[in-house]
């Protein structure tokens, strides 16, 4: 980790000094234990504050469409960014959707060994007492007033990392390898399967329970690199597509439409889940799309840069069994 951090700092410093990039998006130390914070670095000196550890969970690709839409000279501006496997998959999709061009970005890829879910760890300690955190290849040590506690990284990984099959970035200009092996998931996600096995009433109940907690803060949308629409359907007023309240109908409408817009695009980074302050399991719904798209079109978003998005193309081989005759 420390070596990777050092490599990131020196390389970013060099890139900025040589004016190969104008700004670099990475992570800096958070103000709370077990947290990091995205940061924008534009000088060699500033590059020293970049860090790398198992809490660099934010998907930084989310900032790129916004930055690119604002830069005046699109041809000459180049943004550097650090990417885990999932972040790079987001970038691939953004490039396919023409939100960026490949030569506008310089990607420092990092082979990822899985990110640790800080909320999961905090729920196991008295979060008010935490003083500091240390990390080794497989363990997180939380120091608190009550003493030290050691947590296994494997047991406290973020949900999507458990089943991640592409921990090494799918696109990069420079790859940094950490001391740990990149994570190679052997299990597949059974969330959707388990959910579908439940009777309909129970499925509805789960949906109500999960989404019923939503406070409409839109953090799921704003943390998602795919949600770059200049005007979101949730904010359109002419016409207004759905109500503004926290009644269940409005909430379900919002999430259903937002998630449907992710079909064939969601890279399963889990940024929406991590951003949600109410801990709603949004991945239960996005996973369904990911599985469905893979099954129907054999497409995994973000994996192959040259492959066309399934909903943006047509093949005679596309499965058509979803077209059903009305009963």
């Amino acid at each position: 980790m420390k070596r990777a951090e050092h490599e990131i700092r020196s390389n970013v410093g060099k890139l900025l000094k040589q004016k190969k990039i104008d700004v670099f998006i990475g992570y800096e130390k958070g103000t709370l234990p077990l947290r990091t914070s995205p940061c924008f670095v534009s000088s060699e000196k500033e590059a020293r504050k970049l860090i790398w550890n198992s809490f660099c969970t934010n998907n930084l690709a989310v900032y790129l469409p916004h930055i690119m839409s604002r830069v005046k000279n699109k041809r000459s501006t180049r943004v550097g960014i650090i990417c885990k496997g999932c972040d790079s998959r987001s970038l691939v999709e953004l490039i396919k959707e023409k939100q960026l061009t490949r030569d506008q970005i310089y990607i420092i890829g990092i082979s990822c060994s899985g990110m640790v879910d800080y909320k999961r760890i905090l729920s196991q300690v008295n979060s008010d007492e935490v003083i500091g955190v240390d990390e080794t290849a497989d363990e997180i040590t939380v120091r608190s007033k009550e003493g030290e506690r050691v947590f296994s990284k494997e047991e406290n990984l973020c949900e999507p990392c458990r089943t991640c099959k592409h921990a090494v970035p799918t696109v990069y200009d420079m790859l940094i390898r950490t001391a740990q092996q990149p994570r190679q998931a052997t299990t597949s996600d059974s969330t959707v399967h388990d959910f579908l096995m439940k009777p309909r009433e129970e499925r509805w109940q789960i949906l109500e329970q999960e989404l019923g907690q939503c406070i409409r803060c839109y953090a799921c949308r704003n943390a998602c690199p795919n949600c770059y629409c200049k005007e979101c359907f949730a904010e359109q007023t002419k016409p207004r597509w759905f109500g503004v309240t926290t009644d269940l109908t409005d909430i379900i409408f919002y999430h259903t439409i937002r998630i449907f817009h992710q079909a064939g695009r969601c890279v399963d980074c889990g940024a929406c889940v991590r951003a949600c302050p109410m801990n709603i399991n949004l991945r239960l719904f996005t996973r369904m799309l990911v599985d469905e798209v893979k099954e129907r079109f054999g497409y995994e978003p973000g994996v192959a840069p040259e492959e066309l998005q399934p909903l943006a193309t047509y093949s005679a081989k596309d499965k058509q069994d979803f077209m059903i005759e009305p009963e």
Binding site: S37, D128, I215, Y218, A223, A275
Partner: protein
């Protein structure tokens, strides 16, 4: 009836069940609930349901008076009549509220009640509600109340102030409403002694020391007089523009009013709004005076630390730390305050 005593009264912790039982005869009680480790306020029927050693609830209690979604009225153009929705009002007690949340409610009172016309929906709920505050003995690392004019024993907004001493509570009525609660309850108490007060002061001092004072807030406020300050762009860079900070804030109170019309009839509904949203202050012409995240973040900070001071003489931040805990990119308002204060 609990008699009035100069220094307050002492209630043995073992009598807490009696106190709650006695209070439930007159009031609906809401308090930090054991069900989710004091993460939220819930209806309390027995003292065992209370989690009084909680840090701070996840959502602030502002929703009790100012719910996120509230029907204001229903109408039907066929019979040309509108029916106003009256909030359900019962004598209610918020029990065990933290001083910062009580202070925040006193600020909301200024917004909704200090000027004509008063907000009738807010008023009805507020008037039926009394607040029993519990001073903080162990503030959280994200607390910064003492920097913004609040504190672990801040009394403003509370009708009764409670302090947890070793195995007993020191209780003091601060308002006529608080006195009324005392007259309505039947539980054995003793007059507080000066020794109890020494013990309380000691605990409060310890708590104050635990809350870090990190910056000279006046210097920061002074800087804010420069609306065009060069710092906003950089501060807003990492903000995602979600509404978490405003929705979790106990003092944020902006709302939107919408008509939901289906054919002839409809309802008028009030919902929370957030200055972080693109629809906030979007004009009908399409012009938006706050077009980007920079302007929106500036609005949030300025409203709390500059405009509110001008309008109400108060800083609309109580230092509860909720926005710090829940921000998905770890934007820390303490850092913002420091960065702006130290800007040369």
């Amino acid at each position: 009836m609990v008699k009035r005593e100069r220094l307050g009264v002492i209630l043995s912790e073992s009598r807490l069940p009696e106190l709650i039982a006695s209070l439930t005869e007159t009031y609906r009680i809401f308090g930090p609930s054991k069900k989710d480790d004091g993460e939220s306020f819930a209806a309390i029927h027995k003292s065992e349901e209370l989690a009084l050693d909680y840090g701070n609830t996840k959502m602030s209690p502002k929703g009790f008076f100012f719910p996120q979604t509230e029907s204001l009225m229903w109408y039907d153009s066929a019979d040309k009549k509108a029916k106003q929705d009256k909030p359900e009002v019962q004598p209610t007690l918020l029990f065990g509220l933290r001083p910062c949340d009580a202070l925040a409610i006193s600020y909301l009172d200024k917004v909704f009640l200090s000027n004509e016309p008063q907000d009738p929906y807010y008023r009805q709920r507020r008037e039926a509600t009394k607040i029993v505050c519990l001073a903080c003995n162990s503030p959280s690392p994200t607390c910064f109340c003492t920097t913004v004019g609040c504190g672990p024993d801040s009394e403003k907004g509370a009708d009764i102030m409670m302090y947890k001493l070793n195995d007993r509570y020191l209780m003091k009525a601060l308002t006529p409403g608080g006195e009324e609660i005392f007259t309505n309850i039947d539980v054995e108490t003793e007059p507080a002694t000066s020794q109890d007060i020494v013990e309380k002061d000691d605990l409060v001092n310890k708590a104050c020391q635990m809350v870090k004072r990190f910056v000279d807030i006046d210097e920061f406020k002074e800087k804010l007089n420069n609306f065009q300050g060069p710092w906003w762009e950089k501060l807003a860079q990492k903000c995602l523009g979600c509404g978490i900070c405003t929705y979790f804030c106990p003092t944020c109170h902006c709302f939107d009013v919408t008509d939901e019309v289906v054919k002839q009839s409809g309802r008028r509904v009030r919902t929370w709004d957030s200055c972080m949203y693109p629809l906030f202050t979007l004009h009908a012409s399409g012009h938006n005076p706050r077009p980007g995240i920079k302007e929106r973040m500036r609005q949030r900070i300025m409203h709390k630390f500059n405009y509110a001071v001008e309008y109400y003489g108060e800083t609309f931040c109580v230092g509860c730390g909720r926005c710090i805990i829940h921000c998905p990119v770890n934007i820390d308002i303490r850092q913002i305050i420091m960065d702006i204060a130290e800007e040369r």
